[in-house]
Amino acid sequence: MVAPLNYCGCLKAASHLDASRMRVVIAKPGLDGHDRGAKVVARALRDAGHDVIYTGLRKRPAEIVRIVNDEDADALGLSTLSGAHDSLIPKICHELRSNDLNEVIVFAGGIIPERDRPDLFESGVRAVFGPGTPSSSVLEFLETASTRRNNGEPVGVGEDSRWHW
């Protein structure tokens, strides 16, 4: 019977002293009604011990920024399949910076063609995940980003760095 020992271990993992546990907002910007991917990522993050706040569908950039602020999130995952990523995501990144949320780690997922990714990285996005990405990749990314942050290396949306996943 390993269950009780796992249970003990997880109580430790849930402790507020655990630096690797993050508060992550998963958001659906714009007019896009498909959130299976967002929910799968949300669930994977939860199962890895993070606190995940899912925004629900069709959020405006200003609303997403408000949620990130009020929830004091460490990271923001933006899921978009509508094709509007090239306007919505940079706008959200910009608004995060102008609302003093520079340290938030931003990543994106959904239908985002390769050719559009450099611009997103340019606007402060640190990872873009396409269809078929194993959820372990998202977790690895967050772990790496979190390590960078703990080491004082720039990784937030408003922190100057070329680094991306």
Binding site: P4, L11, K12, D51, A62, D72
Partner: protein
């Protein structure tokens, strides 16, 4: 009396001037164990509880709409359960609250119940005080809606709104001896569905036995908005209840005690020993008791 961490006071001062970023950071600090003394304020806290799926978040969303339209500012602490397996949590209460993030007069913080199986963490009281002191005229705690927490909400909320719904069968019977007696107002949600009036009637009958002044019951529909205005008028008329000191401190004591036990540095060790049978439960309590660290006011 409480330990004041440097930086917290600055955050608090900034939050009081209306800086949402500072308020948000301050709540995180409190969640991480920091403590701050707040001036007493006139604000009062409404605890919203009830079984899972009866529409707590949806009804809160409706109430927030009405409050904001009347110029009130509403802060909500929405507690969702943490996974006992991974420790992680999926916090989704705010989805059902309409669009709280579109208004400046609404603040929603989702909280994971974490190590606290009752679903209510000792620092909730401090969060409520901070929110009141920062000028939020209505503070709401939404519980996880499971078992014990329905009692423990007494420790943190001045008034309690119990929400229930139709077609939950015998569960209602089981609850009759519990939170029903502590609720200040009862709302039977989903009045748009059949049977909600029947539920309201059966609870009314149950409460009539032995009580001279039975708890008011309202049938409401969070989806259609019916009855919500009347419910809120009732809540507004209540004001804070000063007569629950003993009960409040009892529940606060229990939730702080649980928190101390579950964050005990040797809990894993003792659970292992209990599993292999080398100690008994009372051995474990004795052995851990001397090392308990209580998070609330332990610095006195």
């Amino acid at each position: 009396m409480a330990l004041v961490v440097s930086g917290i006071t600055e955050l608090f001062e900034s939050a009081r001037t209306g800086n949402r970023r500072s308020l948000s950071k301050l709540l995180t600090e409190i969640e991480s164990g920091a403590s701050i003394e707040t001036p007493s304020s006139s604000g009062w806290t409404l605890g919203v509880t009830g079984p899972p799926g009866v529409g707590k978040s949806s009804l809160i969303g409706r109430m927030v709409e009405i409050w904001s339209s009347k110029g009130e500012s509403v802060a909500i602490l929405a507690v969702d359960p943490s996974s006992p397996i991974s420790g992680g949590a999926l916090l989704a209460d705010r989805i059902r609250m309409g669009n709280p993030e579109s208004q400046d007069s609404v603040f929603v913080r989702s909280l994971a119940s974490g190590n606290h199986p009752g679903g209510l963490m000792p620092y909730l009281g401090e969060m409520c005080n901070v929110l009141s002191a920062c000028g939020w005229s209505r503070v709401i705690i939404e519980t996880v809606g499971a078992g014990q927490s329905e009692f423990q909400i007494i420790a943190f909320a001045d008034r309690i709104l119990l929400i229930d719904g139709p077609d939950r069968g015998d569960i209602i019977q089981a609850e009759k001896a519990g939170i029903l007696e502590l609720a200040d107002v009862i709302a039977i949600n989903k009045a748009d569905l059949p049977n909600s009036q029947a539920v309201a009637d059966s609870i009314k009958i149950a409460l009539q036995f032995g009580e001279s002044d039975p708890t008011p019951i309202h049938t409401v529909s969070a989806i259609e908005g019916t009855g919500v205005g009347e419910l809120m008028a009732e809540i507004e008329n209540l004001g804070p209840d000063p007569n629950r000191k003993a009960l409040r401190f009892r529940e606060l004591l229990i939730s702080s005690w649980n928190a101390a036990l579950l964050t005990h540095p040797q809990i894993d060790l003792h659970l292992e020993k209990l599993c292999d049978g080398s100690i008994t439960v009372s051995d474990a309590i004795q052995s851990m008791g001397s090392l308990m660290d209580f998070g609330v006011d332990s610095h006195d």
